[in-house]
């Protein structure tokens, strides 16, 4: 069996690698090249050097959206993970109908971001109309609106990951701790959480990168209003790319910067949480 795998691995691997190459590596390299070009369609690019990057950093909206995105990422990271963990803890206890609850919590994740954005916009504005304001008029409302929307969507997903993690903790460790007289809190912080670190790594990674990459929900819920104050990085890149004649290169340059930021933050976070993982 092993011999066969050794012999025929290219047949299994090459199609995937080819897809990865065509669908990811080639466009990625082309994208980096295009960020140094002036172009309308990707076929007629003209090399212009780092001009696009200079333009990108001159744009105050880009820096503003970076701040907004960072703030959003921090708030949603904490909120989503804490809530998802608590829900997961609750739903691994012996309560009636826990499978139904799990399904219900997970379901928002199955709806597309654009639809969610418009639905929540209707909900929020239906409430705000009573207070004589609207989501698109107030950046604070816009911010918390986004947090609520994304939380509602992602808590269920993270909950599933945490539930899987909780169920993988061997019962005998918990039992031993209990016999040794550890309290509930002690067990949570000394046994459960350290054993959950792999799940926490995955979930924090997902929430951080999801927050940075957030686009559909942002576009549909606030569209960056008022005056770009709720515009996140991805939306800023999109509106730069399509907003004016000849700005495609600038949008592309912003996208490369965006990529570097997301990768850097993702790697840093992986390193930080990986260090805390324990071997079972």
């Amino acid at each position: 069996m092993e011999k066969a795998v050794k012999k025929y691995w290219p047949i299994f691997l090459l199609p995937t690698m080819a897809a990865f190459l065509i669908g990811f590596i080639i466009p990625f390299i082309e994208g980096i090249y295009l960020s140094f070009c002036n172009f309308t369609t990707i076929k007629d690019a003209k090399f212009v050097g780092i001009q696009n990057y200079i333009e990108a950093f001159k744009d105050s909206n880009f820096l503003g959206s970076f701040k907004f995105t960072t703030l959003f990422a921090i708030v949603s990271l904490v909120l989503i993970n804490v809530l998802a963990f608590l829900v997961a803890l609750a739903l691994t206890q012996n309560i009636k109908g826990k499978n139904i609850f799990r399904t219900v919590f997970f379901m928002p994740n199955l709806i597309g971001g654009i639809v969610l954005g418009y639905v929540w916009q209707l909900i929020f504005d239906g409430i705000f109309v009573k207070f004589d304001t609207a989501l698109k008029l107030n950046e604070t409302l816009g911010f918390w609106g986004l947090v609520i929307l994304v939380g509602w969507q992602q808590i269920g997903y993270m909950m599933i990951v945490y539930i899987a993690g909780l169920q993988a903790i061997p019962g005998d460790i918990q039992e031993a701790a209990m016999i040794d007289g550890a309290t509930r809190m002690q067990r949570l912080f000394k046994i459960t959480i350290p054993n959950m670190m792999p799940s926490i790594t995955i979930c924090t990674f997902l929430t951080i990168t999801n927050s940075f990459k957030l686009f559909d929900q942002n576009l549909a819920l606030t569209g960056g209003e008022p005056l770009h104050k709720t515009e996140m990085l991805a939306l800023n890149i999109y509106s730069t790319f399509y907003g004016r004649v000849g700005a495609e290169g600038v949008g592309q340059a912003k996208a490369v910067v965006f990529f570097i930021i997301v990768v850097a933050i993702g790697l840093l976070q992986l390193k930080l949480t990986r260090d805390k993982e324990v071997q079972q």
Binding site: D132, K136, G246
Partner: protein
């Protein structure tokens, strides 16, 4: 080892043939039988006319055997769609730009149309979009906009359209209706929705008026730096719209284009700013009740102002398509401008399509243009016949989409809190934004 290499080699050749397959298709057009005839791929801008274009394409294909593909971009997504379609190997042969600014980004793709039949069919040179001496685009539809009004409701309020000859009259009527709104049961204006489906009526169409008057005053038809001479007038009309409407100005950010149509059709408001293209949406109000007023903004001599008339729809032929395809596209355009069936479909309204469906109801700038039964179009022609000066569409010179969006957001913010400080945001977006955007766009 040898075997491994062989497997690798096999996989590599498979992939090569895959790539070659893609590439080959792109260059040859894929079909040998119709290669000599070429084919047409039209990227349509107007979603409301999609069904009609599909039908015309089928008819043309039956008559001539030339394949015509029509794809329609979603509302507001034309540039986005065009950019991605143009990047493909089977790219549009017929597309459209919206005027000088749109042309700037696509001029390398526009074939010279000066020798084509469709260019010769134009009634006036003004309807061609030129890049130097090159005829880059052919205007194919002329449209007008203004303030559509419900004459019946206006009469109920005790006025007629003849009472409104300038901004002061309009203001008086609108504010009087607002003062008596409970008694009358309707408002002056439909909601000036700032949702993406409606905000173009204000950030683009209404903003055309201050731009137009400034160009007139300065004797120019394009500029890199707008002065904003008529911004106070812009504010006047915007104030009038938002403070005399069905909707609290704070709620405008969520109102859509459909909301405004619904309000107008249901008789909840007298005035509705939109153009001839909106006729089919509102025709249920009844032809006898519909009228159109010019958008008065309080400029001296505006009694003589007509509706805003022009085009932002120019057909361009993709210069990078194959020669056969370009020829086929030019023939298709000539057919559209001259063939009776095609013109009937384009100009006619009810039952004008061969299948019995409604036509597109356009006014074309072609010599063979047919009388329209679109009431709003006829009202627009009447204004011209009465000697009123049509306002040209200068919004095609607005420097970029970003500029429009910035003005739109500023208008929304101002509507929610009508202070001078917030109006300064509009001014800033309008004047400074114009300078930065035209510099960034490099035109």
């Amino acid at each position: 080892m040898k075997k491994k290499l062989a497997v690798l080699g096999l996989a590599a050749t498979m992939m090569m043939s895959l790539f070659a397959g893609c590439g080959g298709k792109g260059t040859s057009g894929g079909k040998d039988a119709s290669a000599d005839k070429g084919s047409v791929y039209y990227l349509n801008f107007k979603p409301e006319a999609d069904a009609q274009w599909q039908e015309l394409a089928k008819i043309y294909e039956e008559e001539t055997g030339v394949k015509v593909t029509v794809v329609t971009a979603a509302s507001g997504q034309y540039e986005t769609t065009l950019k991605s379609e143009m990047g493909k190997s089977e790219c549009p042969t017929l597309f459209q730009v919206n005027g000088p600014v749109g042309l700037a980004s696509w001029k390398d793709y526009c074939a010279d149309l000066s020798d084509t039949e469709v260019y010769k069919q134009l009634t006036s040179e003004d309807f061609a979009l030129k890049d130097g001496d090159k005829v880059a685009g052919i205007g194919y539809v002329i449209e007008s906009y203004g303030i559509i009004c419900n004459k019946k409701l206006l009469a109920e309020a005790g006025y007629s359209m003849d009472d409104i000859k300038n901004f002061a009259d309009l203001k008086k009527v609108a504010e009087d209706i607002t003062a008596r709104r409970d008694e009358l049961g309707f408002d002056a204006f439909t909601s000036a929705g700032m949702d993406g489906s409606s905000d173009w009526r204000y950030k683009t169409h209404l903003a055309n008026l201050p731009v137009y008057y400034e160009y007139q005053a300065d004797g120019i038809n394009n500029t890199k730096a707008i002065k904003g001479t008529y911004l106070d007038n812009y504010r006047q009309i915007w104030d009038l719209y938002i403070n005399n409407s069905t909707t609290d100005p704070k709620q405008l950010s969520v109102k859509t284009g459909d909301d405004a149509v619904a309000e107008f059709v249901a008789g909840k408001a007298v005035f509705y700013q939109n153009g001839t293209w909106a006729y089919s949406d509102i025709s249920s109000v009844g032809d006898e009740n519909l009228g159109m007023l010019p958008i008065y903004i309080g400029v001296d001599g505006e009694e003589n102002q007509g509706l805003c008339t022009g085009t932002e729809n120019y057909w361009c032929v993709n210069a990078k398509a194959s020669e056969a395809d370009i020829k086929a596209t030019e023939d298709f355009m000539a057919w559209l401008a001259t063939d009776d069936t095609a013109l009937k479909a384009i100009c006619g309204s009810q039952g004008a399509m061969p299948s019995g469906a409604d036509g597109m109801g356009f006014v074309t700038p072609f010599k063979k243009n047919l009388e329209s039964d679109n009431l709003l179009v006829n009202i627009a022609s009447q204004y011209v016949a009465d000697g009123k000066t049509p306002v040209s569409w200068n919004f095609t010179t607005m420097p970029s989409e970003t500029w429009k969006n910035e003005v739109g957001s500023a208008l929304t913010v101002y509507a929610s809190d009508q202070t001078d400080a917030n109006w300064d945001l509009v001014k800033k977006a309008f004047v400074e934004g114009w300078a930065t955007e035209s510099q960034a766009a490099g035109n």
